[in-house]
């Protein structure tokens, strides 16, 4: 029971990661070969998930598309953690100071621009593409991690073991690294998994409206956009990539819950 979330979540996530890795070497069919004669085929033995409007194998497209989704989401989480965690640690270390005020206000400001609005602004100015999608999602991840780290660190700073470290002559930066960071690590792992799943969703949304990865790079969101006009004709073309997103996100969420139950059930993550 306790391990169920971790197990199911881990299996689902691992399946997609492996499929994405495998697609670099092998896919059931070539995703660049068009076969108009065999288009919009429902699932068969040779095309397990059917074919799209150009006759491409949907399973192969999903495998290659997983690369884009995972890469964008992973780098975006990396940006969020890499910048957000140090900012949060610094803000908590100088609680009430100018730095804390600036970081907190900055957080509020970024939160006022939902990731999609940031993406619109960036693509409008710099053009659409995977890199700009990463930046848009990544920027939005920064305040999430900064806020989480600051909150958890602030309550740690009131603990006596921090006072003991200060009596031992340690500076705020050193205490942040030696005492605070290891104690917020669990929280960051759990939140990181959740943000990863939100990144997958955000990337799908952006590429659906054409602001994400550009052709010919396959992506789940654009597969859905292409399928939209044919949804009455061939529902499976829209169904399959959508299910891929759902299963991947569900897997990551379960993995996050599983991590939390395993590491510390009292951890609080934010999910918006």
């Amino acid at each position: 029971m306790k391990w169920r979330s971790l197990l199911i979540g881990g299996l689902l996530s691992a399946t997609f990661l492996l499929a994405a890795a495998l697609s670099f070497f092998w896919t059931p069919h070539d995703v660049e070969t068009l076969n108009i004669a065999g288009r919009l085929k429902p699932p068969t033995l040779s095309n397990w998930l059917g074919t799209d409007h150009f006759g491409r194998d949907i399973l192969s497209m999903i495998m290659v598309g997983a690369r884009t989704s995972i890469a964008v989401a992973l780098v975006a989480v990396g940006i969020g953690m890499g910048l957000g965690v140090p900012l949060g640690l610094a803000a908590a270390a100088q609680s009430g100071g100018v730095l804390d005020e600036v970081i907190s206000r900055g957080n509020d400001l970024v939160f006022a621009f939902p990731s999609l609005v940031i993406a619109i602004l960036i693509t409008a100015v710099f053009g659409a593409g995977a890199v700009n999608a990463i930046i848009a999602i990544g920027i939005f991840n920064i305040p999430v991690f900064a806020r989480l780290t600051r909150g958890a660190a602030l309550s740690l700073w009131t603990r006596d073991f921090i006072l003991a470290a200060r009596v031992a002559g340690k500076g705020r930066a050193r205490i942040s690294l030696e005492h605070i960071l290891p104690n917020v690590a669990n929280l960051l792992i759990v939140q990181g998994t959740i943000q990863f799943s939100l990144g997958i969703l955000a990337e799908a949304g952006l590429s659906y409206v054409g602001l994400g990865a550009q052709p010919p790079v396959p992506s789940w969101g654009r597969m859905l956009a292409d399928a939209q006009t044919m949804v009455a004709l061939a529902p499976h073309v829209a169904l399959m990539p959508g299910l891929a997103i759902v299963l991947m996100v569900l897997g990551l969420n379960l993995l996050g819950d599983g991590f939390r139950d395993w590491l510390d059930p009292r951890l609080r993550v934010v999910r918006t």
Partner: protein, 537 residues
């Protein structure tokens, strides 16, 4: 006929036995004290009586209130009794009240929920009850919210809610543990007078024998879910048949064998007119305001001296500690240690001369570090800290100094009990061979028997090492045992100082006198007359 009649009460939570056959009676107008160390099952006895056991509980035996078997009642029937026939007072007044509802509404709710009055009548009765518990409407309007009251005042509101319908039985679970001694004395007096006036039965749960010794009619001593001894208060104190009762009593009145003073005239720390202000939250369009936590405090600690600092919560003693450790800057005056000025920028070498032991054994250690690394942390202060084998030796030596094993260095902190953790905290403080250790309420969170052991350890260290300490506490009994000289602090100022015996026996300042009068005390058995509550503390 007894009011409350408990027979062979058993309780298991998720299969773990908590109570193993409790039998006791409370008569109308009687005060029964339920005492024992943490985990003895005393609170669970109360919650079983109230029918508010945690999920997964299985209770057996019988609990009768005026003949009614409570364990067989449905929750709806219990709801009729709770607040009406049985009132309950909790330990933590800061969290026991709903923060978003006025105190008047919360007291009136007890009356309304039992359909005893209309809204207007209930509010009027709420005002009367609040006046009864010492919160007259002129000074404490019923429209106040809990956060606008102090801890003692909140506890009065909780009492008002419990007695609003004049229940037959009142249960108080550690009602004064979270309060200062002077507030504690007032709340105990209030409870006593209410019980007497309304002829209620009171089940009073406390870990502190002294609190109940001059209040309870009878005492029940519990250990590991069993009653080890019960009887009328005076008889029980006189006979003390069970060894556990004797151990508990001995620990509460523990005499520490303190070596004779070896204080020398050279001062190591001098605090001179120290002032410490805290900025209050800034209000818009107003200059920032400050709260003065420490106001022109002067004191000197000499080499090898054992100095006590007594005061209630919020008097500024912890703030003073942080300033003396050079963690926070002063706004006036100065602090010198070993002739050098103390402050946030002071050199590490100076810091290594002063170390500290905190109150909370659970918050004092980074849970992700092993004990060896934890106690070696102050080596950061040394220019040339020991490494490799020398480091291991120093850690082992330090652990042995406080009665632990060298192998304990490889364990994580969660493997240790509260008392062992305080030993580890002392080991950490000792590792740099400091001249001064500050004990900040270092034994306040411990059970009596563990507390006695830690006090003995401190006395032992004082005998073996050339060590001065500043022992900060709210507990006069402990300060008397462990110090030679004492300072009394009130509202940021030192109001009295002198040799411990002299100050505590013949206090000069009004505040010291109040503190000593309010402190609960155990009957002095050495005089052979338990009725004569010991005049000395």
């Amino acid at each position: 006929m007894s009011l409350l009649h408990i027979r062979a009460l058993q309780l298991a939570i998720h299969g773990t036995p908590i109570l193993k056959g409790i039998s006791l009676d409370i008569a109308p107008g009687e005060i029964l004290a339920l005492t024992g160390e943490s985990g003895s099952g005393k609170s669970m006895t109360a919650f079983a009586t109230l029918g508010l056991l945690p999920q997964g509980s299985l209770a057996g035996g019988e609990i009768r209130l005026q003949g009614t078997e409570l364990l067989r009642l449905t929750d709806a029937q219990m709801c009729q009794l709770r607040g009406n026939e049985i009132g309950m007072i909790f330990q933590e007044p800061m969290t026991a009240l709903n923060p978003v509802q006025t105190i008047g509404d919360q007291v009136a709710e007890t009356i309304l929920i039992h359909g005893a009055a209309t809204r207007d009548q209930a509010m009027k009765r709420a005002r009367d009850v609040l006046r009864r518990v010492g919160l007259p409407e002129e000074r404490f309007p019923v429209t106040r919210f809990p956060h606008e009251l102090s801890g003692g005042q909140r506890q009065r509101v909780v009492i008002a809610m419990a007695i609003a319908l004049q229940p037959k039985l009142l249960i108080a679970d550690e009602p004064t543990t979270a309060l200062d001694v002077t507030t504690q004395a007032q709340i105990l007096d209030l409870l006593k007078s209410l019980v007497k006036a309304d002829h209620m039965g009171l089940m009073m749960i406390t870990h502190d024998l002294a609190v109940v010794s001059d209040m309870a009619d009878r005492i029940v001593v519990m250990q590991h879910g069993n009653i080890v001894e019960q009887g009328p208060t005076q008889t029980l104190f006189r006979t003390m048949q069970h060894p556990y009762t004797r151990a508990l009593f001995a620990a509460s009145t523990h005499r520490v064998n303190l070596p004779s003073p070896k204080s020398r005239p050279e001062p190591i720390v001098q605090v001179c007119d120290a002032v410490r202000d805290y900025p209050l939250k800034k209000r818009l369009f107003q200059p920032r305001r400050y709260a003065r936590a420490v106001n022109r405090v002067s004191l000197t600690i000499h080499q090898g001296e054992r100095l006590g600092l007594v005061g209630e919560s919020g008097c500024g003693k912890s703030t003073l500690t942080r300033a003396m450790l050079g963690l926070e800057p002063l706004q006036g005056g100065e602090i010198k240690a070993f002739g050098q000025r103390v402050g946030p920028g002071m050199p590490n070498g100076l810091r290594s001369g002063m170390q500290v032991v905190f109150q909370d054994p659970y918050g004092s250690f980074n849970p992700r570090w092993k004990v060896g690394r934890l106690i070696a942390e102050p080596f950061h202060l040394m220019a040339d800290p020991p490494r490799g084998g020398a480091l291991t030796d120093r850690i082992a030596e330090s652990l042995e100094n406080v009665g632990l094993q060298p192998t304990d260095a490889d364990k994580y902190i969660h493997a240790f009990s509260g008392g062992q953790r305080q030993r580890i905290a002392i080991a950490r403080a000792l590792i740099t061979n400091p001249d001064l250790i500050i004990f900040d309420e270092a034994v306040s969170a411990l059970d009596v028997r563990v507390r006695a052991q830690i006090l003995d350890l401190i006395a032992d260290l004082s005998r073996r090492l050339d060590l001065a300490y500043l022992f900060i506490s709210h507990d006069l009994t402990v300060v008397r045992e462990i110090t030679d000289r004492v300072l009394v602090m009130q509202a940021g100022e030192i109001v009295e100082e002198g040799p411990t015996e002299a100050v505590l026996n013949t206090p000069q300042h009004r505040y010291t006198q109040q503190l000593i009068a309010a402190a609960p005390r155990l009957p002095d058995l050495t005089t052979g007359d338990p009725d004569a509550a010991a005049s000395d503390l």
